[in-house]
Assembly symmetry: C2
């Protein structure tokens, strides 16, 4: 549903411009695979689905308010000061000098919480994209990232960009430096599929952080830095054989695998079914695999679900090409 009105700034204008603004806009922001195994805290990859939708509409009450939230099972805070989408939207209004605006957000959670797929980032990103569009798109996509990350921070407590950046920008994103938002879209080789299996077990991000040792052994550091450099090379060369050799995580995966019952069986099932690589998505518990055909990606997912099933764990499957567009307004 889109309702249009003349933009207030143009009401006394010349009339030869048709700058129509909607009364409300809805944006979709996708789930993302943080770390992509090989690049702990420095890479992320956007999916086509699942993802969140946020609708933004003008209201008479200044500031950001929450209208309704669906799909969250009542878990998300209605207080705009604590809600990631609302915080992100408020920061954007402040950046734009539009704090006098009244905007109400509806949040439609269409992806699981605490899954390692960047759920809070997706809400924050969808909010800033919706609000930006509602205001006539004064900002380019990249320039919405800081607000989205600050929104995400309201949920996670940390300024972390490896889900927000791919969810917003799409594709495969390298975060050279989160603090300065020095982020770079890497090339996406054609036909690169992501299989994501979300097992119904709980892994709190703070616990996933707590298990990590404070140091990395030098030989592991050398090997992992070689693999992350080779991963970038493989993307630029569209060299799937190389990508398969380097898509591995010798640093974090061994430390977090124990948080996901059956992880190594699931990984073996994915590799046997033809995955280029398989690791933990973000802080888990979702496990992802990459491959190069839709049928393979689907078979990998079914094998992974079956492996979780042998451990008595139900799971959900998402199969998606890498989403090169990222967040977008829904027409």
């Amino acid at each position: 549903m889109e309702l249009f009105q003349r933009h207030p700034r143009l009401q006394s204008g010349t009339g030869d411009q048709l700058n129509l603004k909607p009364l409300e806009t809805t944006a979709f922001a996708p789930a993302s695979i943080g770390n992509i195994g090989v690049g702990f805290d420095i890479m992320g990859l956007a999916l086509h689905h699942p993802g969140d939708e946020v609708t933004a509409r003008f209201t008479n009450k200044p500031g950001i308010t929450i209208g309704r939230i669906t799909g969250d099972g009542g878990k998300l805070p209605l207080d705009p000061a604590k809600n990631t989408a609302a915080v992100a939207a408020r920061v954007l209004l402040e950046q734009l000098g539009e704090t006098g605006r009244g905007i109400e957000l509806d949040i439609h959670k269409k992806m699981p919480f605490g899954s390692g797929l960047g759920s809070s980032s997706a809400s924050a990103v969808a909010a800033v994209v919706a609000v930006n569009a509602l205001l006539g798109s004064p900002r380019l996509k990249y320039d919405l990232l800081h607000a989205a990350v600050l929104g995400d921070q309201a949920a996670t407590g940390a300024y972390i960009t490896d889900n927000a950046a791919p969810s917003l920008l799409g594709g495969i994103v390298l975060i050279r430096d989160g603090a300065t938002l020095d982020v770079h879209n890497l090339p996406v080789p054609p036909g690169l599929y992501a299989t994501v299996v979300y097992p119904h077990v709980e892994v709190l991000t703070k616990n996933a952080r707590a298990v990590l040792k404070p140091d990395v052994p030098m030989p592991t550091y050398i090997r992992q830095s070689a693999n992350v450099a080779a991963f970038v090379t493989a993307l630029y060369k569209a060299d799937y054989a190389l990508l398969g050799r380097c898509l591995r995580d010798d640093v974090v995966e061994p430390q977090r695998a124990g948080l996901i019952p059956g992880f190594y069986d699931v990984k073996e099932a994915a590799m046997t079914a033809g995955a280029l690589g398989c690791s933990i998505s973000g802080a888990g518990p979702s496990v992802f695999a990459l491959s190069t055909r839709e049928t393979t990606a689907q078979q990998i997912g079914e094998a992974m679900m079956a492996a979780f099933g042998k451990h008595g764990i139900k799971s959900e499957l998402f199969v998606s090409l890498v989403n090169e567009k990222g967040a977008e307004v829904i027409p």
Copy 2:
């Protein structure tokens, strides 16, 4: 000087092939910057000069013998079992099933020892390139790498590829996995100059290894892996601004800087003179900087030498475009 004779295999042949083989060949193999700061143990960059030359010629005595060695101040072993060039040549003959051949090597050291510029690698690489050419080039360049690395190992005691690979292949090389020689030439942006200053102080590689802590703190690991991934990205995009931001070593440089008197003054001088980045070449003591103009590269070098001079240290300067050809037969 090149003398030609008919290849022995063709002496009873059909005669319609003109496969002339020289009686001797000389190959040049360049110095290289191991690590390139950002990629400890996984990257190297080839220079145009300095470098070593090795002449290979047939003799009647089977096996590899050393003829004469120049430029080494009497330091290199004449025993073929201990000499890097001879070991590399012997391994190549074994690989080719040509151990009945008698080949004599002359080694012309034209670069400093123990400088952090891959001196032993250059000798080993020049030897295998010369011998391969002498035998009618049965092998492509890449397939000479294993023999060269084994030759290098005779000097260093370790199977390390980050000097041999760039010296042989040229350009900027990523070593994903040394054991399987999974090495990749990365793109060289146009006009990328290396400035290398070799200070006359001694840093033994084994000491440079000994100072390294066994672990890398996790935040440093994350930052450095982001920079190495961004370095590859910068090379592919020919993005010098990005290259300048990521050409840094937060892991090893702080631990080795103390082995090079005045290092931080030299680095500051390089950066002030316009370097994109500056760090230690290999295990040191040479210090390198990258930049994008020949005049800048020269000025950087003079500033670095002056800074060493203030610490009472004499030094030598080498300025070179990145050498994209690598080792080659000298006509």
